[in-house]
């Protein structure tokens, strides 16, 4: 008898994936499946065969842990080295750190929300393939939130505005933009969430934040943001692939899914475009050394890459998102309009603002030949002149907000950059306001949802944004000061112009200390 063991058969990647992601589930018998998975049918999406879902990377849980652990080791080695070596003093200038503040206040909490969203959606889908994909993505998003908090905590030791980001995220006016975006997504059904976050946001839009902006962070000497940004983006590349897979899966399962998916694409591409207006301003105004303009990044990652994607999806009967025409018109104006709004409301923001210097304005002219010199340079030069005369004006009144995206009404009419775009509609006797036709259309499809929006300006006027015991009728009451107190925003330290700020003074003093010995 031949006792020699048969040579072990080593499974290939595709077999390994099938073995570790299939046959893990079972049909329930005590309770009907529809009661165990109550959310995966009501949106109208029809699924015939869950096993048609394939992760193109074929990542199994064991490989996932192995590579994620390796990423973490690299990440923390760099973060530690950066902190030990006083890396923060190597950034181009301290204005740069304001991008880090905005990232921590507005992006990191979204990572955590994405973690919660994918954990929830994973539970809601009855197919094992997408459940495993959602489980990995939920873990990734939690890792992003944690590594970002760890990495940026180093800046909190030295600079203002980073001390209470979680508290601010729940309250501060401009942070209601990212917050309401994600709350809209997590309160939708599981398939809409996947299309919103997995596809529209991850595939079509996150490249703009995590690729050119993070490359810009590296260019400005911020090894910290470069490493957490690219480490997160290595997971995002996987998420993008899953987002695309999710779309193909839905479109191939049943023709009835096509119009539903198309409506979600129209909605969420527009919601994402509005959200990214913050990134537009970070790239064109807040990076002291620029890698590329927002417009160039937009053309590369949205128009070219997104265009290729939608051309490919045309075979399913999917067309480009409806907003394409409007976003083409806006790309010459977006970053300038958003930055000037923050300059205007600089007293109420938890980061510093400034007017670009002469070189920076020339760069903007060169990158935006159609718009900068004509519409924006004259205003900025006027404001700089006024500030030099001691007339720096901070707007302390409250703007009207769009009911859907919650951004102040700052965007102009498509095709006319001299006229603010206002839209309105009525519902149950109340009037609602919008920044655009697209935001109005989103509202009109689900008014019951959007009338519940927590709009910071309305809340302030209703007296819900003051600390307990505040008396708005007291003589000399300063509403802005009371609201900032409620935000935990320190007036004169976290807000106002960069010029004259504590950050500016400290950075200059510490930089000086790097090359001189202290005596005495």
């Amino acid at each position: 008898m031949d006792m020699k063991a048969a040579p072990k058969h080593k499974m290939g990647l595709k077999e390994r994936y099938a073995a570790m992601t299939r046959g893990l589930d079972w049909e329930t018998s005590y309770q009907p499946m529809d009661k165990v998975y109550p959310f995966d049918k009501y949106e109208g999406i029809v699924i015939h065969d869950w096993d048609k879902w394939q992760d193109p990377f074929r990542l199994t849980m064991d490989a996932y842990w192995k590579y994620q652990a390796e990423k973490e080791r690299k990440l923390y080695a760099i973060i530690d080295a950066y902190a030990q070596n006083n890396g923060h003093l190597n950034v181009t200038d301290a204005r740069y750190i304001n991008t880090v503040k905005l990232f921590l206040q507005g992006v990191t909490p979204l990572e955590y929300m994405a973690h919660r969203g994918f954990a929830h959606v994973g539970r809601a889908l009855r197919g094992p393939g997408p459940r495993i994909a959602c489980q990995m993505q939920a873990l990734d998003e939690l890792r992003h939130a944690q590594t970002q908090v760890h990495a940026m905590s180093n800046y909190n030791r030295y600079y203002n505005g980073l001390h209470d980001w979680r508290h601010m995220y729940e309250r501060v006016w401009y942070l209601s933009v990212p917050k309401s975006f994600f709350e809209d997504a997590v309160s939708a059904g599981p398939f809409e969430f996947l299309v919103a976050v997995g596809f529209s946001f991850e595939y079509v839009l996150t490249n703009l934040l995590f690729v050119p902006f993070v490359s810009g962070a590296a260019y400005n000497g911020d090894m910290n943001t470069m490493t957490f940004g690219f480490s997160a983006q290595s997971d995002e590349a996987r998420h993008m692939t899953l987002g695309l897979e999710c779309i193909k899966f839905l479109l191939e399962q049943d023709p009835a899914n096509v119009p539903i998916v198309q409506r979600w694409l129209d909605k969420w591409c527009w919601r994402g475009v509005r959200l990214l207006s913050l990134v537009a301003m970070m790239m064109d105004y807040m990076l002291p050394k620029r890698v590329m303009s927002w417009k160039e990044a937009w053309e590369m990652y949205f128009e070219e890459a997104g265009g290729a994607l939608f051309k490919d999806l045309a075979r399913y009967g999917i067309r480009e998102p409806k907003c394409m025409q409007q976003v083409r018109l806006e790309k010459d104006h977006l970053s300038h309009q958003v930055w000037t709004t923050f300059y205007n409301y600089g007293a109420a923001a938890a980061f510093h603002t400034w007017i670009p210097d002469a070189d920076e304005m020339d760069w903007l002219s060169q990158k935006y030949p159609e718009s900068f010199d004509k519409y924006y340079r004259p205003r900025m030069e006027y404001w700089r002149e006024q500030a030099a005369l001691g007339n720096r004006y901070y707007n302390k009144t409250l703007p009207m907000l769009c009911q859907t995206c919650q951004i102040p009404m700052l965007f102009t009419e498509p095709g006319d950059p001299t006229k603010i775009c206002y839209r309105e509609t009525s519902y149950l006797g109340d009037k609602f306001h919008f920044c655009s036709d697209h935001c109005k259309e989103i509202f009109e499809y689900e008014p019951e949802k959007y009338i519940q929006a927590w709009l910071p300006v309305h809340q302030i006027y209703q007296g819900n944004c003051f600390e307990p015991g505040t008396d708005p009728t007291a003589p000399g009451f300063d509403p802005l000061a009371a609201v900032l107190q409620h935000y935990h925003l320190n007036f004169g330290r976290d807000n106002l112009d960069f010029e004259g700020s504590e950050d500016q003074r400290n950075f200059a003093a510490w930089k000086g200390a790097v090359t001189r010995n202290q005596v005495g």
């Binding site: 290939g12 990647l13 595709k14 193109p56 990377f57 074929r58 990542l59 490989a63 590579y67 390796e70 990423k71 690299k74 490249n207 995590f210 690729v211 050119p212 993070v214 490359s215 810009g216 590296a218 260019y219 470069m226 690219f230 983006q233 290595s234 995002e236 590349a237 996987r238 993008m240 692939t241 695309l244 890698v291 590329m292 070219e304 890459a305 265009g307 290729a308 994607l309 051309k311 490919d312 045309a314 075979r315």
Partner: protein, 89 residues
């Protein structure tokens, strides 16, 4: 035909990967930005395990790409030996 792209970190791990990809895909173009390398190619782009192993002098698992990957576009087909990005149109 649309372009696909692959973006990797600009570091020592990724350098031989970029070299291998460029040798295997003569139609691809490389562009460098701070801290990253972007490879664009019309229609399709293939990463071959053997080409990378030859350059680094030891075995390479294509899933190690995840460690230095920043972004990509196109449909993915991955086996033990090859990783391909492509568009159908």
């Amino acid at each position: 035909m649309s372009n696909v792209f692959l973006i990797l970190q600009a570091n020592e791990d990724a350098r031989p990967i970029v070299e291998a990809v460029m040798a295997d895909n003569p139609h691809a173009r490389v562009s460098e930005s701070p801290a990253m390398v972007k490879i664009d190619a019309e229609g399709h782009l293939t990463v071959r395990r053997d080409s990378i192993s030859e350059r680094i002098g030891h075995a390479f698992d294509l899933q190690e790409l995840h460690l230095n990957l920043i972004s990509l576009s196109g449909h993915i087909d991955e086996t033990d030996d090859e990783f391909t990005l492509s568009w159908n149109s």
